[in-house]
């Protein structure tokens, strides 16, 4: 067999193995994502569909005075959620990596079980915890921490709390995977050389798990930017996020081009950290892809 023939044969077998996933994802993932950008330049159709004309009106209409504040809220809530979640998850991962193997297995299982239960049910459960007559409110009133007429539900803080609750396992898993590989004798060495516990933690441990931190950061930040269910269920009017506006545009206003334009904005907002991440992860063997840690 001549050389070009071998080459062609290799390419054919490569393509036949790759084609199912490549074609499926090109048609049902890549193409629809690109279509969003195209539809943003379309007018609104008569029966809630997509119009035939190309226009800039849709893009202009989303420059509504409310939207910059909603986009800004989406960004700050997501950043606050990511920061707080990581601040809680790093010490947890540190502790999990240092306990006995048996204890570690138990803690892992306890972390995983709640996120195997339906996402909506967990949020719904929070709703009854935060309910005006729920036990948390009564407890806080009893401690004189809140005013009896204060509401815990339907405010940005409630959204943040439930977002942290939902995202914590996604931060703990990659951080734990990194902490487990960390050589704790370095930590002890630093302390032998006179570093305080806190100093050793921040100067030795935290940089040592940088990879895990980066993936945990992304794992939390991106779903937060796209969150819609949590603000919808536990948030009020002043906690609407970009996702809520997109859903309202799609299902209530039936304005698909405007929903597409807002989704395009969302894509751009979330693409920035993603690009940064993919650049940092360019591994030739493609092994550094913990994704949502396959458990």
């Amino acid at each position: 067999m001549s050389a070009p023939n071998v080459h062609r044969k290799n390419f054919l077998s490569e393509f036949s193995v790759s084609s199912p996933s490549f074609l499926w994802l090109t048609i049902f993932f890549l193409l629809p994502t690109l279509i969003i950008f195209a539809i943003s330049f379309r007018s609104r159709g008569e029966f809630g569909g997509i119009g035939d004309q190309w226009t800039l009106e849709t893009l202009q209409s989303i420059a509504h005075p409310n939207y910059p504040s909603i986009i800004w809220r989406t960004i700050w809530m997501s950043l606050a959620c990511t920061g707080l979640t990581l601040a809680i998850a790093v010490p947890v991962a540190y502790h999990m990596a240092r306990v006995s193997a048996k204890m570690r297995d138990l803690m892992m299982l306890l972390t995983i079980i709640p996120f195997w239960t339906n996402f909506l049910i967990r949020i719904f459960a929070w709703k009854s915890v935060l309910h005006p007559e729920g036990f948390l409110k009564q407890f806080l009133v009893w401690c004189h921490l809140v005013n009896p007429d204060a509401t815990l539900l339907y405010r940005p803080e409630a959204v943040l709390l439930v977002m942290i609750y939902t995202e914590l396992p996604f931060a703990i898993l990659p951080l734990y995977a990194a902490a487990e590989k960390f050589d704790f004798s370095l930590f002890d060495a630093a302390m032998d050389l006179g570093a305080t516990r806190l100093r050793a933690f921040f100067s030795i441990f935290v940089p040592g798990i940088a990879d895990g931190l980066l993936s945990a950061c992304l794992m939390v930040l991106i779903p937060c930017i796209g969150s819609y269910v949590i603000p919808d269920m536990v948030g009020g009017k002043d906690s609407m996020m970009l996702g809520n506006v997109i859903v309202r545009m799609t299902l209530e206003n039936r304005n698909i081009p405007a929903a597409a334009a807002l989704s395009a904005v969302l894509t751009v907002v979330m693409f920035l950290p993603l690009l940064f991440f993919l650049k940092g992860k360019k591994n030739p063997d493609g092994s550094a892809a913990p994704a949502k840690e396959v458990v």
């Binding site: 490569e14 193995v17 790759s18 996933s21 490549f22 499926w24 994802l25 090109t26 049902f28 890549l30 193409l31 994502t33 279509i35 969003i36 539809i39 997509i50 010490p91 947890v92 502790h95 999990m96 240092r98 803690m107 299982l109 306890l110 972390t111 195997w116 239960t117 339906n118 996402f119 909506l120 049910i121 967990r122 719904f124 459960a125 009854s128 309910h131 007559e133 729920g134 036990f135 914590l168 516990r197 992304l218 794992m219 991106i222 930017i225 796209g226 969150s227 819609y228 269910v229 996702g243 997109i246 859903v247 799609t250 989704s263 969302l266 993603l274 993919l278 892809a289 994704a291 396959v294």
Partner: protein, 264 residues
């Protein structure tokens, strides 16, 4: 020797674990609470469970059937596609595979709402009617990546020289693939399929966009019940689902332990 470890991480860890269970415990307790609002304890009852199995719960069971149909089909398709994708990524190193890798990896990190809305717009633009088919297509789309990653991580742990050894000993391509390669990566395929199945059963956001009239899945049904305020029924249903999940996890852990023992 003086204990140099701080107790703070231990305290935080246990606090977080308790935090994880606060809403879940409350939900289980409330499913037996005679109080409709679920705020104050008003005595033990099983009436919510009875209602769940009476005519009031009929929609729930229909939704559950839809969910299981969608999950089974989506798991079968995505397991096949994802496994092929993982093989391609592992075997070939080329520019095309780099792009292929990005294509498989990106859906894992794109917010669900974007996948949902883009598929909805795509189906609308092509005038495809929304229903079980569109739900299955959407589920396959996000499950492929998880399956591919699960299989890929198994492939990367595997010593490929065994395949050469099999060929040197006279096995043909077909035998090598089916008798050597597939059995070794089967746990990866199984883990991927299980993940796809759970993700499909649990998905709300993407399904919310692409479901049609009469094709309600369980999460969509639950959302409707929450909106209508049918709280006690959801508590009862959630407790049952929790129990099922718990048994499934225990079974999975036992299989995993046995596999590890066999492997090591």
């Amino acid at each position: 020797m003086k204990d140099r470890r701080s107790h703070l991480p231990a305290i935080m860890t246990w606090a977080v674990l308790i935090f994880f269970y606060i809403p879940i415990i409350l939900l289980v307790v409330n499913s037996f609470n005679a109080n409709r609002q679920g705020t104050i304890w008003m005595g033990f009852t099983l009436k919510w469970y009875e209602q769940l199995f009476s005519s009031k719960g009929r929609d729930i069971w229909r939704a559950l059937t839809n969910t299981l149909i969608v999950a089974t089909i989506a798991t079968a398709i995505s397991t096949f596609i994802g496994t092929c994708g993982a093989f391609a990524l592992h075997k070939y190193k080329s520019r095309f595979q780099n792009f292929h890798y990005c294509l498989i990896y990106t859906p894992l990190v794109v917010p669900e709402i974007l996948i949902g809305i883009s598929l909805l717009i795509f189906f609308m633009a092509l005038k495809i009617e929304l229903g079980l088919t569109t739900i299955v297509i959407a589920h396959v789309t996000f499950c492929i990546s998880y399956v591919a990653m699960a299989v890929l991580s198994r492939l990367q742990d595997f010593d490929m020289t065994i395949l050469e050894a099999a060929r040197d000993l006279g096995a043909n391509h077909w035998t090598t693939t089916w008798k050597v390669l597939v059995p070794i990566i089967l746990p990866g395929i199984f883990a991927g399929a299980l993940l796809a199945f759970t993700l499909s059963i649990d998905d709300f956001v993407i399904t919310f966009f692409v479901n049609g009239p009469g094709t309600t899945t369980l999460p969509i049904q639950i959302q409707g019940m929450i909106k209508r305020g049918a709280m006690p029924l959801i508590n009862a249903l959630s407790t049952l689902l929790l129990a099922v999940t718990f048994v499934a996890i225990l079974a999975y852990q036992m299989i995993l332990k046995r596999n590890q023992r066999n492997a090591g």
